[in-house]
Symmetry: C4
């Protein structure tokens, strides 16, 4: 009995260190974790630079070191949490797993260990460490505005895709294969590059008609960028003004959502 008690308290203690950031030990754990995450990303990135190839053994060593540390952390999280399945299925649970898998997979398939950059998503934990509750609220508000406008943005994206498909194939017919428009998929790619005002210049129209159509696409892209911007602006404004709606409920019918200047409930007419 006492053995179990002790074991339980040991799990609870570890849980506090790993999942909470209230105690000095928990805070230290999170700070060290963030530093390890950042260092592991740096190592993976530098490992890909050709001029640093001579340090490859060191990079491999650190990669395995960080992977083992993160594996231990992952196992400890599963062991100490009350609902292991809920953690494994959660956003951070999936990320934590994806952050260690590539190194093990690279034993079977060489080259895949570059997928380790997925670890960058783990950096999101930094918000927790810094106790940036405010920042999380801001992030939630932004995500909410994006989610509220996702239907309009879907419609917009659909229109853009139809547009680049048609304009791209028109350019293919106009320009031919001389100036880089060698196929319809490539021309559609060019249309996207142009409409989004990126403009690499690896493919560029040479004929007068092609340049005229290209100019049209550019001005179109210059103008319709206004559409997603307008959508998000409106949603952000709305989510702000919803903050201005009173949280007061009607004493009669319990309806909510009254304006701040409302004197009577707009549903039943009772005095607020």
């Amino acid at each position: 009995m006492r053995e179990k008690q002790k074991k339980y308290s040991w799990r609870a203690h570890l849980h506090e260190i790993i999942f909470e950031a209230d105690t000095p030990a928990g805070r230290l754990f999170d700070v060290v974790l963030i530093i390890f995450i950042l260092l592991s990303i740096v190592v993976v990135s530098l490992d890909s630079v050709r001029s640093l190839r001579m340090y490859a053994p060191w990079f491999r060593f650190f990669e395995w070191f960080f992977t083992l540390v993160f594996t231990v952390e992952y196992i400890l999280r599963i062991l100490t949490t009350g609902k292991p399945l809920a953690y494994v299925r959660s956003f951070f649970g999936v990320i934590d797993l994806l952050a260690i898998l590539p190194t093990y997979i690279s034993l079977l398939f060489p080259g895949t260990h570059y997928l380790l950059v997925i670890r960058s998503l783990r950096v999101l934990r930094v918000f927790r460490v810094l106790k940036l509750v405010q920042y999380l609220k801001e992030a939630t508000m932004l995500l909410q505005a994006l989610r509220a406008s996702r239907r309009k943005i879907t419609v917009f994206l659909f229109g853009v895709l139809s547009l680049v498909l048609i304009l791209g194939s028109m350019m293919y017919i106009i320009e031919g294969e001389k100036s880089g428009f060698t196929s319809i998929p490539r021309s559609v790619y060019w249309a996207i590059v142009t409409l989004t005002t990126v403009g690499y210049g690896d493919i560029a129209p040479a004929s007068a008609l092609g340049q005229a159509l290209a100019a049209f696409i550019m001005i179109l892209g210059y103008c319709i960028i206004a559409v997603p911007t307008g959508i998000v602006s409106v949603e952000l404004t709305r989510s702000f003004s919803e903050q201005r709606i009173s949280t007061q409920a009607c004493p009669e019918c319990s309806a909510e959502g009254h304006d701040y200047d409302a004197v009577h409930c707009k549903y039943c007419g009772a005095r607020l």
Copy 2:
């Protein structure tokens, strides 16, 4: 008499399958149609890729297959609809015709079958299949905001075109033919590329004065992109707020600005 009855019911049955999406058969028809549309676009696109030239006979075969299917569909739509002329003249009627014509025309004029990408517009039918009534409402709202701001955007476009005409010809005079500004139309094209912040780099100023003017054009384009964005934002905000606030006045105190779901005046409590 009975023959006609039977024939009529046969037409009505087909009409339900082709034009409606309520029955399982109608839904299946629409889903198969969308898949055929997407596949036909993929075939036309891949047909233009040089490295896949060896599969050309297969592409040609599928192109004719899809064209025949769409032709049969087009004829059936005309036969089963109550008002054939209304369908032929409608947006989707025109698109459906344009989606099959290029293949037949390509028998006379080789090369025109690439115009088949117009079929991409048929993809818009997907909205119907998925019963995305909501999405259509969003699209209508976006189109309405764009239509409401079309006058301001016309004025803006006119100003932009005058601007690139003048700036382009100034660059032609400043840069001369050394750095790619070989004619006024080409210089105007460059001015559009620069003002819209696309920036291919196929033409770029080399002289100090030319670079100074180019820098001016860039900053101008960076700032005036705010104009269409502002216009669309304002129109979207307006169409949103018009949606939410009723024009109904309170019969007691004449107060206005009630929400659409309000039953009682929020100021005096009188029934609206």
Copy 3:
């Protein structure tokens, strides 16, 4: 006396044709004028295309033809208007003069006749012809919003210019002359190309540190483009909402600028 009467009526008649667009003759005059303006711009543009050099005599002929027509029009406008000086000083008066001067100046200084593209500004007359009173109102509203935000945009531009000056010279020190950053003015030009997200690619950083700073400049430019957009959006919203302010004046103190929902004058308290 009668001679003068006749002469006056002749001037009045011409004035009606040239300055008004109410009569069929006046409308015809304006339409022909617009067509001439567009054709004259096309001629000047094509004249600069090298591959059309063989048609140069024809272009020269048309250039002189249009210049003479516009000169006659300019003189007639001065003669028939009641206040010649007011016309000469007006926006269109200056444009009309600038539209004919380059051809005459080109007799003295060859090459300057390309300045004829200033004629494109004359196209603004099209608004008058089409009786687009509405469009002029829209244009006025846009210009008003830009004028109202010119102080904020000046401050913004000043900040941007200081920024590109400092960032450009930092890049000059970092990159050196290997990768195209051959002088500070050229580096500042590059910084403008990058900050405004134009990105020609004629100059691009090669060193790791240079690319890091370039990435910083890009993200900066990507974010601060929000500033002019926000400014113009706010001004446009404001000019819209000012439209919503009642034109009703107080019967007591004659004060204006009341909201539509105001019942009492906000200055003296009298009932509106």
Copy 4:
């Protein structure tokens, strides 16, 4: 005693000239200072142009001339101000020091004198000279809106950085080293160039899959530019409307939302 009085008045007089712009002498001092600042920046910039290398001695002479003038000005400012430490620590105090240091440091470390472009920050003094109090208010409002939205923009930047890290490394795996994606840091740099719609074109995807992912990144960048724009728009709108509407409530009917210039309640006419 009188000596001190005289000395004090001499300091007070200089203080008025250097720090204030009310007297003719003070205004003249500021105007001359601005001209000197602009000229010194021009000299440093031209000094870096290779084709003007022959004028190097002149540039060096002017550089030392301006540095000495600014050094004298800096010392005078410290001597004449009441709180020397407050000035040295202030924004302009630090800028004034940084504007003269590089020339002296260049005696020890050649090449550093290009840092003199920091002098461009001194140009901000122009706001004071022109007595542009209004402009400073506008600048304050812009900075305030940016500061109010800095949390949301931080969250946004964090998301963008995670995105380019992941997308860049995916491109590295997809494209390999053939088309310029030679390392993960370089691929991340490319992802930033593409997401911000700069698009140099020095690195561009060549494979079909790479171009598809690039197209995705472009459209993403085209859409999420809406986020910072929306944030700043909302903040600017808020700071505007807060400026215009008083928080004062009517003492009679408790109505709110009165303009700042209102004397009477617009609903019931009671005196505010």
